[in-house]
């Protein structure tokens, strides 16, 4: 498995690890049987801007790095913008991922969407 330096940085020193106590949007995807679980915590303000984002991840190096990078990419964005984050955006930001690890970036995008949906459900 050849990981880029960006992936390794985001794996060894991941940003935004942990839970946000007062998160108002939480999404979890994946299954341990598949080897990855990703849980995303969002703190969204009244203007629907993501003030803070964090993650907890059970998974490989690519999963951890994708979580770290994806949360970095959505902080400060509106939920509309963040909802549009594509897995390929995460892959690009990481400087690429091995083919067999692309699904980790998919998980990250899915977890963010799930967290936003959770926020919307709670608000509705």
């Amino acid at each position: 498995m050849e990981y880029t330096d960006v992936v390794m940085e985001n794996f060894t020193c991941p940003k935004n690890v942990g839970e946000i106590e007062d998160a108002n949007g939480v999404g979890q995807v994946g299954s341990p049987a598949c080897g990855d679980i990703m849980k995303i915590f969002l703190k969204i303000n009244d203007d629907d801007i993501i003030e803070n984002a964090s993650f907890k991840t059970f998974g490989c190096g690519a999963a951890v790095a994708s979580s770290s990078m994806a949360t970095e990419m959505i902080i400060g964005k509106s939920i509309e913008e963040a909802g549009k984050l594509k897995n390929s955006d995460v892959v690009d930001a990481l400087g690429g991922l091995p083919d067999v690890k692309i699904h980790c970036s998919v998980l990250a995008a899915e977890a963010i969407q799930a967290a936003i949906q959770d926020y919307k459900n709670k608000k509705a």
Binding site: P14, G30, P32, C34, G35, I37
Partner: protein, 402 residues
């Protein structure tokens, strides 16, 4: 940075003494062993010496030793060669669920060609049951293939007892001893085996050279047809340099077997005690006693194996999670599933395999760092004892298959 290599089950560094033996066959003694002139005769003679060294190491006759290009080729040859040779007699094969992929995938290929294969289960420590074996044997069973020692969890199977049962029924018996040689005594006469696979790169020899032991007189189809090499049983110009290397490596492995075993066992026990003593929710996979002297295989709850490997790699430690041969795949190890681990737990496995140059300091360093790594990854994990997995969540991503 100093590297600590703890993946000797995947491959071993080539012993300098072995490299030394190889070099002349890459320089002066380059003749084709099939040629009749001086260069060819010299090469031929050397090969026969190496054949004898391997024979001695496993208590065989040198005419029972056939060189192949790998342990995988030896396994393929044994299984397909016996199956094809005996297909008129019967089409049933018995093996186990925890075999190396070279055996399993050969069997699966034969299933596509109309053979039937019984994959014996193993118990929670990885042992095949003799009762299961007896019950599985049919009138049309032509081959039983059970590995000597498992490459992932290190469990040593009761090959001698299996050999006895199989022999009584007059069925051909193959064992994959790739992980056994150099780690435990291997004696083909004592074991009652007809065929036995070996690979040099697991015993401080080079990659790309293996052996199939074929008991004298056993009929078997060729896997690689062509020239008259290997007494017309395996074609291809002989890999003289690596054959010489394998011979030397086998000699060294037998000569130093006792001391290497003691050394590995001591460090392995230090490693197991350290890990189980210092890391909560860690479990040892495989048999507690009937295991390879250098093998330690753990599961750590709530975290994933590749993360552990990467974290170890960053600080200079090489280990593996499941067989190195299958790390191209995302599926959890078939061996860990066979001993009853849930897939989620199997993903969190770590195999550390000790070699002859591993030191007690290496083990201390690894244990201490592992404590921190496991803690750090657990802190990052969304699952723990208090947060069991929300099954409902997974339904949402049912489309996400591997």
């Amino acid at each position: 940075m100093k590297r600590i290599y703890l993946d000797h089950a995947a491959t071993t560094p080539v012993d300098p003494e072995v490299v030394e033996v190889m070099i002349p066959y890459l320089t002066e003694t380059f003749g084709n062993p099939s040629s009749i002139y001086a260069e060819g005769r010299a090469a031929k003679k050397s090969i026969e010496k190496a054949r004898q060294q391997i024979a001695t190491a496993i208590n065989a006759d040198s005419r029972e030793i056939y060189f192949t290009a790998s342990g995988s080729e030896a396994d393929n040859w044994a299984i397909k060669g016996i199956a094809m040779k005996n297909k008129a007699k019967g089409k049933h094969i018995i093996t186990s669920q925890i075999e190396h992929h070279a055996v399993l995938h050969s069997c699966e290929y034969l299933e596509k060609q109309g053979f039937e294969v019984t994959y014996l289960p193993v118990d929670e420590v990885g042992l095949v049951s003799l009762e299961d074996l007896k019950n599985a044997i049919r009138d049309d069973t032509i081959l039983v293939s059970i590995m000597f020692a498992n490459n992932e969890i290190g469990t040593i199977e009761p090959i001698k007892e299996i050999g006895k049962i199989v022999k009584e029924k007059g069925i051909v018996f193959h064992t994959d001893a790739v992980q056994a040689l150099g780690n435990i005594p291997v004696d083909v006469k004592d074991l009652n085996v007809d065929l036995l696979s070996l690979s040099a790169h697991k015993i401080y020899g080079p990659k790309g050279i293996g052996v199939l032991y074929i008991k004298k007189g056993l009929p078997i189809d060729n896997l690689i047809h062509g020239g008259a090499q290997e007494r017309k049983k395996r074609a291809g110009t002989e890999n003289t340099a690596e054959i010489m290397a394998f011979g030397k490596a086998a000699e060294l492995a037998s000569e130093h077997l006792e001391e290497n075993m003691t050394h590995m066992k001591t460090l392995r026990d230090q490693l197991i005690e350290g890990v189980l003593g210092k890391i909560p929710l860690a479990r040892l996979n495989g048999h507690p006693e009937k295991r390879l002297p250098g093998n330690a295989n753990f599961c750590f709850a709530y975290i994933e194996g590749e993360s552990i490997l990467l974290s170890l790699d960053v600080i200079g430690i090489a280990g593996s999670s499941g067989s190195a041969c299958t790390s191209g795949s995302l599926d959890p190890s078939h061996v860990l599933l066979a001993i009853g681990l849930p897939a989620g737990v199997a993903h969190g496995s770590l195999r550390l395999t000790i070699g002859k140059s591993t030191t007690a300091e290496d083990i201390d360093y690894v244990v201490n760092n592992l404590v921190e790594i496991i803690q750090r990854l657990r802190d990052m994990s969304p699952i723990d004892a208090d947060h069991p997995i929300d099954a409902a969540v997974f339904d949402k991503v049912d489309h996400h298959h591997h």
